[in-house]
Symmetry: D2
Subunit: 407 residues, 4 copies
Amino acid sequence: MTDTPKKVVLAYSGGLDTSVILKWLQTEYGCEVITFTADLGQGEELEPARRKAEAMGIPDKHIFIEDLREEFVADYVFPMMRANALYEGLYLLGTSIARPLISKRQIEIAHKLGADAVSHGATGKGNDQVRFELGYYALDPDIKVIAPWREWDLTSRTKLIEFAEQHQIAVPKDKRGEAPFSTDANLLHTSSEGKVLEDPWEETPDYVYSRTDNPEDAPDTPEYITIDFEHGDGVAINGEPLSPADLLAKLNDLGKTHGIGRLDLVENRFVGMKSRGMYETPGGTIYHIAHRGIEQLTLDRGAAHLKDELAPRYAELIYNGFWFSPEREMLQAAIDHSQRNVTGTVRLKLYKGLAQVVGRKADVAFNLYSEDVVTFEDDAGSYDQRDAEGFIKLNALRLRLLGRRKG
Amino acid sequence: MTDTPKKVVLAYSGGLDTSVILKWLQTEYGCEVITFTADLGQGEELEPARRKAEAMGIPDKHIFIEDLREEFVADYVFPMMRANALYEGLYLLGTSIARPLISKRQIEIAHKLGADAVSHGATGKGNDQVRFELGYYALDPDIKVIAPWREWDLTSRTKLIEFAEQHQIAVPKDKRGEAPFSTDANLLHTSSEGKVLEDPWEETPDYVYSRTDNPEDAPDTPEYITIDFEHGDGVAINGEPLSPADLLAKLNDLGKTHGIGRLDLVENRFVGMKSRGMYETPGGTIYHIAHRGIEQLTLDRGAAHLKDELAPRYAELIYNGFWFSPEREMLQAAIDHSQRNVTGTVRLKLYKGLAQVVGRKADVAFNLYSEDVVTFEDDAGSYDQRDAEGFIKLNALRLRLLGRRKG
Amino acid sequence: MTDTPKKVVLAYSGGLDTSVILKWLQTEYGCEVITFTADLGQGEELEPARRKAEAMGIPDKHIFIEDLREEFVADYVFPMMRANALYEGLYLLGTSIARPLISKRQIEIAHKLGADAVSHGATGKGNDQVRFELGYYALDPDIKVIAPWREWDLTSRTKLIEFAEQHQIAVPKDKRGEAPFSTDANLLHTSSEGKVLEDPWEETPDYVYSRTDNPEDAPDTPEYITIDFEHGDGVAINGEPLSPADLLAKLNDLGKTHGIGRLDLVENRFVGMKSRGMYETPGGTIYHIAHRGIEQLTLDRGAAHLKDELAPRYAELIYNGFWFSPEREMLQAAIDHSQRNVTGTVRLKLYKGLAQVVGRKADVAFNLYSEDVVTFEDDAGSYDQRDAEGFIKLNALRLRLLGRRKG
Amino acid sequence: MTDTPKKVVLAYSGGLDTSVILKWLQTEYGCEVITFTADLGQGEELEPARRKAEAMGIPDKHIFIEDLREEFVADYVFPMMRANALYEGLYLLGTSIARPLISKRQIEIAHKLGADAVSHGATGKGNDQVRFELGYYALDPDIKVIAPWREWDLTSRTKLIEFAEQHQIAVPKDKRGEAPFSTDANLLHTSSEGKVLEDPWEETPDYVYSRTDNPEDAPDTPEYITIDFEHGDGVAINGEPLSPADLLAKLNDLGKTHGIGRLDLVENRFVGMKSRGMYETPGGTIYHIAHRGIEQLTLDRGAAHLKDELAPRYAELIYNGFWFSPEREMLQAAIDHSQRNVTGTVRLKLYKGLAQVVGRKADVAFNLYSEDVVTFEDDAGSYDQRDAEGFIKLNALRLRLLGRRKG
């Protein structure tokens, strides 16, 4: 970055690290800082972020605090869920899917206020730096990107805290020492990684979990719920219509109570190493399972199998930070096309960490399951068993020709 | 089938239906019947099958009763598990994977005894007819295939029972009426479908389950186990070396106790309709989860992601009956290549329907996870955070060029 | 087919075979026949079909003769070309892509006139029967389908001609004996197969070709042309705006002259056997090559590579007759999304069977190629060569960890 | 790179650029240099490289000049050709496939002589740096890599030549000015790019081509040849057995004469930008076409279609430099499995830029094409046309259920 940035939009949480970054940007570059703090459902007060920014001299007009929960769920989580996306077979991408929205809003604010740079607090070894920055560059190819963790010399916690104290940034008691692990949270999930979690042979201590009760402490009685879907998206729980964010929040409550959605994972980062993470995705796990349940009834086999083949790639794109890429959009176009008739109701049983589909139904305009066709009994002509012979014979023909060759 | 079969190898369970088929083959075609009864771990006595065959005049040399459990697990279940194969995202293919082995043995016996035909008891609406027959044709392109359920006029249970009584075939009391559902079982799973299960909105009644205890009745205390893997296959439980079949049987016991592996699924059959099935795969579910666990530590990202992309196709091939096809073998070659270093130990927690990986370790010769590289701290040069900037910049370049065009 | 059809819409070419079918439908089923004859650019007079239908007693209101050339190219050929679809790496799907449109119009006419059945003249060993009938069933699941070649006893040419003569159907002299090969033609291509072409070791005799001059007889001087594309579709040749069908027809003329688009192929049919065909796709070959040329300049790498991976599947779906399937539509949605900015001009050299892109350009609003970025010289900051090191290092990280393990 | 390299294995062509690098390594790092010069069929004398190295003080034991042509074709080109790999649908990967072998030999020599570093002459904007270095790191994770073009300050041709003159490195007359384009050559191809080729709208001037005659100047009479394949690899031309390198060389002669294998391409580099290249792959183009030809006869549809779907990914891996990666090896295992019976003879016609398969045959032990099955005539029971109805009906079932829903 040859030129000094003049006006920087910082993704600002209000926590110690991004407060240090804010100050460092001011002192290192002498630039104006615009703080952007988003409520993505992480469950923290945002007003303290305002006060801290003000304390560091940021004028009101440069402090942006926004509730993006509905946009987050409607435009990012739900589209992703339509794909049944799982990274490496298991991970519901809770952190990955939040980054594009933050990038997008930072760039929008930068354009509005004439800022020439953006900055984030992601470290130099993780995936988030990639996700933020690919988003920035895709949305503004000429933006300057400042990644303090890759640039500064505050390479240890001690140095960071010294810097904070030197600049009158309050250091909470529990931040003085090394945190036993680090977390990221939003309406979809909480992730935890680092330190005490780094030995993949050690079971995660129970105190790491914040979003889910221990299944062993969950109620001894199962709870049954229904989720209604329309065109691939959830719209109601137990018959009560809910906005996207409210629906996910409600599922989070249910999932927390029943200990659903804990995942202990060793995953492959885009930057090349393996890392061990602990994910809690209570509502998202239920939603994911339910979505597959309604697709079972309403999605054609050809569409379903194509989706299953595309999903790993789609998940990889989101994980790697390519939300704003032509290929993710292409896959989304295909996936969205498949969801037109994914409308109906799923019934789930929640019990001690398990969320199981136990029933699904759909209006005749959406249902592809036919008891008439499947029944063992005479089905009045919908299906002629003799057709099966021809079906098998022609499917077998190439194998028979192969077999003859071998003979 | 223009020519009358002269000698038929029948996949014979000893049950009412295949006993009727045996007799029907004798009376309809006047042909010799060779019975083949395999122990694939379905948990039934096989000697009664011998007595029934003898009672219908089958000479001893034409009665084949074989314990194929080890071959089944070592050569079919384990290779499939190496792929992490799930049909439609959820189903562990317990029925599908048993068919090729039965087909193969029938053809081998046919060749040994000079039989010109094979026969099975699968119905005309299901997938199993396809799986059996594709196997037959692939292994002997000139074999005659007799599928009585598609040919005869015993199209109702009443007619079937009449035929049985007319021919002195014992009809067990519980077979007189319509069964409330039908099942298939082997060492990997039990499936149930039909009748009471056909309404996909209705929860499966508890009496349908035979292989797993209800999670609600499972022990209140979690149980921890370890599974050792070598080159992609399980070799020991809790440190005790076990043969493939014994290992799966042991996991079945554990899974049953803890209520693990129940699946309520509406699936898409190869023959074109949707059906609802209930699957219990206690040991297979634990094994599948554990296998992913050890891959997390020992499999490279490139290999892992390629496997994830190939797995839906691989699963579809097995489900559709194409085990003995060049494309399944090609995929197997790729998958097997990836498993060379999948060696290590997984620790799992079993509790009320849940099987969760809580730890995994591998010898340094197999482990790809490096705390040194992943740690937030200074890592002595294994990873230079400044490299991330270049990595991001070049990954972003095409997106920036795109963005500029839009500008 | 239990019920007798009452009113049948027949895909009627006016040739001997479909004339026999027309009569056979009348005599065999005593049903009303509606003839549907489409001009898809096969280059034959259609009015004789009208006269022949009238001669067999079809009333005017039941004779449908339609010019579908523009719809064929705009809604079928061009969308397929957007995908760069090649079946088995080589075949431009000229026959496959014409079938869905015929099916669709037959069903539309059936609905309009209250017909309960449709019929076609495709034989029982080919792909076309599958393509027609999958189209019929997808568009009207309850339609009756009559496939005379699979039903009747006119199993030899002699019997067919006897039937024709018996029913006063004129038999052209050249149809009396066995044709040396059979052909199918439309605006996109002419295919030839059968008889003299069945030995895949024998070179196709020159008299088989009807749509292309022999390259050896083509002009000794190359011809240069340009094709303009907008949003993925061709719109002009040498700067002259042309409708889709006119554009393809013009390219056919050019391709014929220069001997472009001959293909000798042994292909795998959906019905299970290999067959040898000879295809001539003069204009389509040029168009296909040109489309790749303009994509090179205007399509992002991520989109381009995803398209390349999806294309074989897409081609297979069209070849197998699944045009009207959710999965083809999903792929189309993805492909079409990618074509939004595929706008520009391609320059080609045509010479003795070769069509080569020798230049391509695009407006700055569409062009992704940047001489500034690619030049070896200093490029004023668009690309920092030092970024490459980080890019390589992080891409190599997993391979290094693998290498260390092996060490 | 914190530590100074002590002993460097340089990929040394003997040309001006790598001679400057040699000297620069000596002067910049004061390190020992080992030169490695490979004959990959680029068609240049290698002994001058020895003399130049000697002139710069490299002792004989540190000069490695090796003829790797047979290894190159047998272990790299042929395995790649088995996949029918084309990058971006068109490019036969002639440069990409040569890099892994050079990397491998450099690392082997480094290990043998105790060198701690390797170096190459690829620039900082291209793909080759990535290919070389991914190879190095995969084969020795701890090797030091020196990429002078990314490190030094010889950033213009003037500076480079000044450095050369200052160090008594002979500067050929034609290297004094800027070259009008740069080339890379090996037995598979010659590529040209840069300068006069950078405007993608301009036709490549004829003087750029060195490996192929202009089709317009090629013989007016076609030439017919045969290529024999065994297990997927070429073994003979016109019946004469040839080693891999000799076979490719012979095809190069034929291709040159007939003007075959010119490609004008705008491609997407791994490092993120588009570039325009001109490729000449005379023999490789013929070989590629012939290989598809023999597969048509001997490869099963399932295997063929799976290969077609995997090929773009495989090609991308090679292009991007991931030859030594688990996922390339997995794909290779799948591809190689498919080639076991790809044995037979292809007949091709070569004429003015065109290479066309006009015939193919295979022994009955390998041939899957059956005239008996495909013929329109009665085929004595190999295929029952009535089977087609069942085949179509069951393939249509899901589409009919879809259609009913829409109704």
